[in-house]
């Protein structure tokens, strides 16, 4: 294949990575931004989304599109409910102390991972894509489902932005993000905001897991890479900045696609980590984060 089409293919693959990464990382960014909690278990919510998608699609007979639609609707809601319970049972009891919650979410990571291993098993299982449509370009054919993932992620992120900027709940979350104590003085129930935020963040990660599973297969250890990449994206974009997260996801996703295809995936990860190191040295608050 000539260089031009090869680059186009790499960019399209990168766009899929960026879309899924933006979804997962926006959840992590939201949780840190509003709650000041570094959620080390975030990748496990992504994994649970994928595993639950497999469970739902295997339980529902009929056309793959119907089963997948059910997975898209059910899995993120179940994961969000689990996260809300974890917030009430663990994080709230620690009074959302930043250091204690890091340790607690490391524990939660292992609990969720081992629970998945016990209940789901060690095997990787595929989920049938909801449709097999392919777009035929002059140089190569490309999965229509992958383009759907980009479109769906874009719509969800647009919805998230509208939710945060145009709704009362979004206003309450942004006010709590700026000043928890003052928010309480204006009648905002911060505990409820935190629970909703943690659930929303987990739900976004789970949705990313559902969308990726027809491409990658569901497996109990699949949460590690998205966690690492989400942290890379959130650190580069600026902790708590949704706009920065989206831009950083695009940069990391596209560069990952291009470098992986022209060189190796390992080099892509090395360069992304190097970029994080440079950001931490020269602009610790991230490209779009506010200075503490």
């Amino acid at each position: 294949m000539a260089f031009g089409p090869f680059l186009l293919l790499a960019l399209m693959e990168g766009l899929v990575t960026a879309a899924v990464l933006a979804l997962a990382a926006s959840g992590l960014s939201l949780v840190f931004g509003v709650m000041r909690v570094v959620n080390v278990a975030h990748g496990e919510f992504y994994m649970l989304g994928a595993v639950l998608a497999w469970a739902v699609t295997t339980m529902i007979p009929g056309p793959p599109a119907l089963a997948f639609l059910a997975a898209v609707l059910i899995a993120p809601v179940l994961v969000a409910a689990l996260a809300a319970a974890a917030d009430g049972l663990i994080l709230k009891r620690l009074n959302y102390d930043p250091e204690a919650t890091i340790v607690a979410t490391i524990g939660l990571l292992y609990i969720l991972q081992q629970a998945a291993l016990s209940l789901y098993g060690p095997n990787a299982n595929p989920v049938t894509a909801p449709f097999e449509w392919r777009i035929q370009l002059p140089w190569f054919g490309y999965s229509g489902y992958k383009l759907f993932v980009v479109l769906a992620a874009g719509l969800v992120l647009l919805g998230l932005w509208l939710f945060m900027t145009r709704t009362k709940a979004g206003l309450v979350m942004r006010a709590t993000q700026v000043d928890r104590s003052t928010a309480q003085a204006f009648g905002i129930n911060v505990d409820r905001v935190y629970m909703g935020t943690f659930a929303l963040g987990a739900g976004l990660a789970a949705l990313a897991g559902v969308l990726i599973v027809p491409i990658q297969q569901a497996q109990y250890l699949m949460g590690h890479d998205p966690l690492l990449l989400s942290f890379i994206v959130v650190i580069i974009g600026g902790l708590g900045s949704l706009r920065g997260t989206l831009i950083a996801a695009l940069v990391i996703g596209l560069s990952d696609g291009v470098i992986s295809m022209f060189f190796t995936p390992t080099l892509a990860k090395i360069l992304a980590t190097l970029l994080v190191a440079m950001v931490l040295v020269f602009r610790p608050q991230g490209l779009f984060g506010a200075r503490a």
């Binding site: 700026v178 003052t182 009648g187």
Partner: protein, 232 residues
């Protein structure tokens, strides 16, 4: 209508800051809190709002107990707070800050219109982010945001600190109009001339307690009590 506080004790962890505060604020009156730095004036306002947990004592508004309620429940009973240093939601616009203030009452347009009539300058700045306003405008917004709660008791912590004289006059005018509207105003203030101009009563705090409360009528700038309790 009255805010009645009896034996309020509160602190930060093991450090007790308020040691049995007795205090009363009446509707349509301005009660000033004065005292040297560190005597617990700001902590007292925080404790009234539930932001500093009380370990003993009672707080009641018209006989309804407020002590022990979670902080987010207090504003629903009619207490509003303008903290020291304004504590605005800086990245949010003026309109959004006012909307947060009006959350408790569902952001009714009549209250917002009244508030913007009191501070017409804010009407021109509704889409501007709060953090980019001038100091005086930020203070106006901090008070306006609290007024969106339709308070029966307004707690103000040094609202004119660091402002230029023209802004101080505007803020003081607004406070007096709130008093005329029947709001009980509790004002932490360090400047004697402002206390004499605004207050009906003044409570002097010493070491986490109200040592003495008296009417302002008859006091002068060089009164002995100011030297004793404030050191001016």
């Amino acid at each position: 209508m009255a805010l009645e506080v009896r034996g309020l004790t509160a602190g930060y962890g093991p450090v007790t800051v308020l040691r049995g505060v007795d205090f009363r604020a009446e509707a349509g009156q301005i009660t000033c809190l004065m005292g040297r730095n560190g005597v617990g004036k700001s902590s007292f306002l925080k404790a009234l709002m539930g932001l500093l947990p009380a370990t003993a004592g009672t707080i009641a508004l018209d006989g309804t107990p407020l002590h022990g309620l979670p902080a987010h429940e207090i504003p629903r009973h009619g207490l509003a707070y303008v903290p020291q240093g304004r504590r605005l939601f800086g990245p949010l616009t003026v309109a959004e800050n006012l909307a947060v203030g009006g959350l408790v009452h569902g952001n009714d347009t009549a209250t917002l219109a009244q508030v913007l009539t009191l501070f017409p300058r804010l009407r021109e700045r509704l889409d501007q982010t709060a953090g980019t306003l001038s100091g005086g405008e930020q203070q106006m917004l901090a008070i306006a945001r609290a007024l969106c709660l339709r308070p029966r008791v307004l707690l103000l912590d040094e609202p004119t600190e660091g402002l230029q004289p023209s802004m101080i006059a505007l803020i003081q005018e607004a406070i007096l109009s709130l008093k005329a509207g029947g709001v009980a105003v509790v004002l932490v203030e360090q400047r004697v001339d402002a206390v004499l101009k605004l207050a009906d009563r003044v409570a002097f705090m010493v070491a986490g307690q109200v040592a003495e409360t008296m009417p302002v009528k008859g006091l002068t700038v060089d009164a002995e009590v100011f030297r004793t309790y404030v050191g001016v």
